[in-house]
Symmetry: C2
Subunit: 399 residues, 2 copies
């Protein structure tokens, strides 16, 4: 949790309970965003798209003037519910629009939870209205907690960026701990900034921030129908940001860092995870190749179980590298673990020490560096280990 959470001018939020899947726990979040704000939304690439994802993407294309409202419910994904799923989303969007007297297209819905069960619309509507009656600019932690499903803790990142006399705030929160895979991770993420910039610049910054954050993590290789990432600029006129300016560069970097930190918080809290594993592929001929090999290793069940067992099983890492179709020459591969030599020229490095490798393997954070020796490009994927608890959680709970 950050020491200080910076409120974002004009952004107000509140949560309430629908009294459904999670009992009295808050599971319904409303966020009001001022009229002058800009919203950038990126959604799942899964062809199974949840009803709220379809409506959110549509509404973002035709926003009107006036306040915008983000509505998020946890406990029910409203995915794979066919036409009735769409009707349900439209129903609560319409009703909230009329309750607040804003345009229906200004209501942006998000859902997370179990797939294929009818959404209890009326219950969530009661909760949304209750939340909307209590909007305030401080409830970040409550908001981050209300959207959780199998996560064990809220994930919030907040930063203050100083550029000359100006300062910009970035505050965001995210959820997700299983069904996590790039393009992008199964997650909901909401990041807000205090500043005014154009829609195209906001979209560009958003895409860039996703690349090395939510698009670089994997828990289990599974994507979901509900993945959504929002980047919202509050439109504060006193803080204009122009493309290519110093402000833009520093703010863009802070946003990228915020996304990356949120992504790592997701991995820290991944289902059943006992370790965080960074797989960095270097000296690749292209980023595409580096990315492909990084994910092949990061998603290998044999590598992930070895990590869980603290077994410095470099043979499994090398074997996973070897099965990637894009690999050219296994004899050029060098692998290090937290800086310790494992593999050189495609076989065990003569400096390999079982003792020091085993010591490193017991750490909570493992870095696997794989040099392909064929180019200059690189990519890092971040994943978790595969534990008995992952199996327990996912064989037990219909999520």
């Amino acid at each position: 949790m950050p020491k200080k959470i910076h409120n974002i001018k004009g952004v107000r939020l509140s949560s309430a309970s629908s009294n459904t899947r999670y009992g009295k726990r808050d599971d319904s979040l409303a966020i009001a965003i001022p009229s002058e704000s800009k919203l950038s939304g990126k959604f799942t690439t899964n062809k199974l798209k949840a009803a709220p994802v379809i409506i959110a993407a549509q509404n973002l294309q035709k926003l009107s003037s006036g306040n915008k409202i983000l509505l998020v419910n946890a406990g029910n994904a409203n995915a794979a519910n066919g036409p009735s799923g769409l009707r349900d989303v439209k129903k609560y969007c319409r009703e909230i629009a009329s309750y607040l007297r804003v345009k229906e297209e200004n209501i942006i819905p998000f859902s997370t939870g179990v797939i294929g069960e009818k959404l209890p619309v009326d219950e969530y509507l009661v909760a949304f209205k209750k939340a909307l009656d209590n909007l305030n600019d401080k409830s970040w932690k409550k908001a981050a907690t209300a959207i959780l499903t199998t996560d064990t803790k809220p994930k919030i990142v907040s930063k203050l960026v100083n550029v000359g006399k100006n300062s910009y705030k970035v505050t965001g929160f995210a959820k997700g701990s299983g069904m996590i895979k790039p393009d992008f991770a199964t997650l909901l993420s909401f990041v807000f900034i205090d500043g005014k910039l154009s829609q195209s610049l906001l979209d560009k910054i958003h895409s860039k921030a996703l690349k090395n954050s939510f698009e670089a993590i994997t828990v289990d290789g599974d994507t979901s129908p509900n993945d959504s990432s929002m980047l919202v600029a509050n439109g504060n006129k006193e803080k204009p940001i122009k493309a290519g300016s110093r402000e833009e560069k520093k703010l863009s970097q802070a946003i990228t860092e915020t996304f990356a930190e949120l992504a790592e918080l997701l991995i820290d809290d991944a289902e059943g995870a006992t370790k965080k594993i960074k797989v960095k592929v270097t000296k690749a001929k292209s980023v595409k190749q580096a990315r492909s090999i990084a994910f092949t290793v990061a998603e290998s069940p044999l590598v992930k179980t070895a990590m869980f067992g603290s077994d410095a099983n470099w043979g499994r890492i090398l074997s996973a590298v070897g099965r990637d179709e894009s690999l050219q020459d296994i004899d050029k591969v060098i692998i290090k673990l937290n800086g310790h030599p494992l593999v050189k020229k495609g076989h065990k490095d003569s400096r390999y020490s079982e003792k020091s490798a085993s010591r490193e393997m017991k750490k909570k954070e493992i870095s696997i560096e794989i040099s392909l020796g064929v180019g200059v490009k690189e990519f890092q994927a971040v994943t978790s280990d595969l534990s008995e608890d992952y199996v327990l959680i996912n064989s037990d709970y219909r999520s």
Copy 2:
């Protein structure tokens, strides 16, 4: 275990113990094949190729007249050992060649076991010689047992094919229970037939048999450096087989069935498996598309853990289908589980019954049928569930 194991004329085999990794258990197998036989070998597509795989593939290209000898050791994969791994293989091949007075290129080596540890050559040599001194035509079960690693039982299939007055025998055995993935499964497989046919016809029959057997199964999506499949015809002149003949068709079918049965035996004994799951994709626009989607579902950790937990979680199946890049229209997807309706038009089938789906999920064999509704091609992948035991086995044992 088959009721009757048919010996293959001229094929003699025996096993012994090297007294290394597995103590006194037999772990070294020798198979002598008569001079007039034909051998077809197919090896791993992993770019990390074990030393014996490299030598076996080379030797098969330059076989001389005289007996051929297959040597198989379990306990050490002799993979990723660099130049010294190759020297070790050559050493024991040369020594056995001189011991038997056969040409060195007629010795075909295979290994399975831990990656990246030096092969105890002298110990295996003693065992190979001992085995070679005791060759006989009956030791199929002992042979199938000697090559096991994490497998819990030997896998043997034996068939008698009658065509008119002639009869042909097919007998084979295989090992493999983790690091299993097509192109092809991490395994060693040896199938022998009693008949005479050309090298090109044998290779063709071999490739065809692999397609719907070892290339259609997956345990964990990981391939190994040691995967090898041998199809050997003993060259019995009394049983000639011509391409396109009735004999060829029936024998080819029996061989394909033998491979498929061996592949299913591997899945039955997959690491930690409690269930066998067949994922059949139908009405695809191409076999490639059907195959891609079948494997995406068969390798999804969320689908596999749901299977372990007997949870009829059709949302996860549909979601895995949805993330496959080759899918066109999620709204045409129909999914059935052991014939029971789950999904229609991309959402829950109105005839879905939680009760009957749950009943089916408790069975040991689950069939998931996914119709894409866009063509006429199909493909079936066979996999196991993902259990806590899989994690335990693989976090515990450096294999």
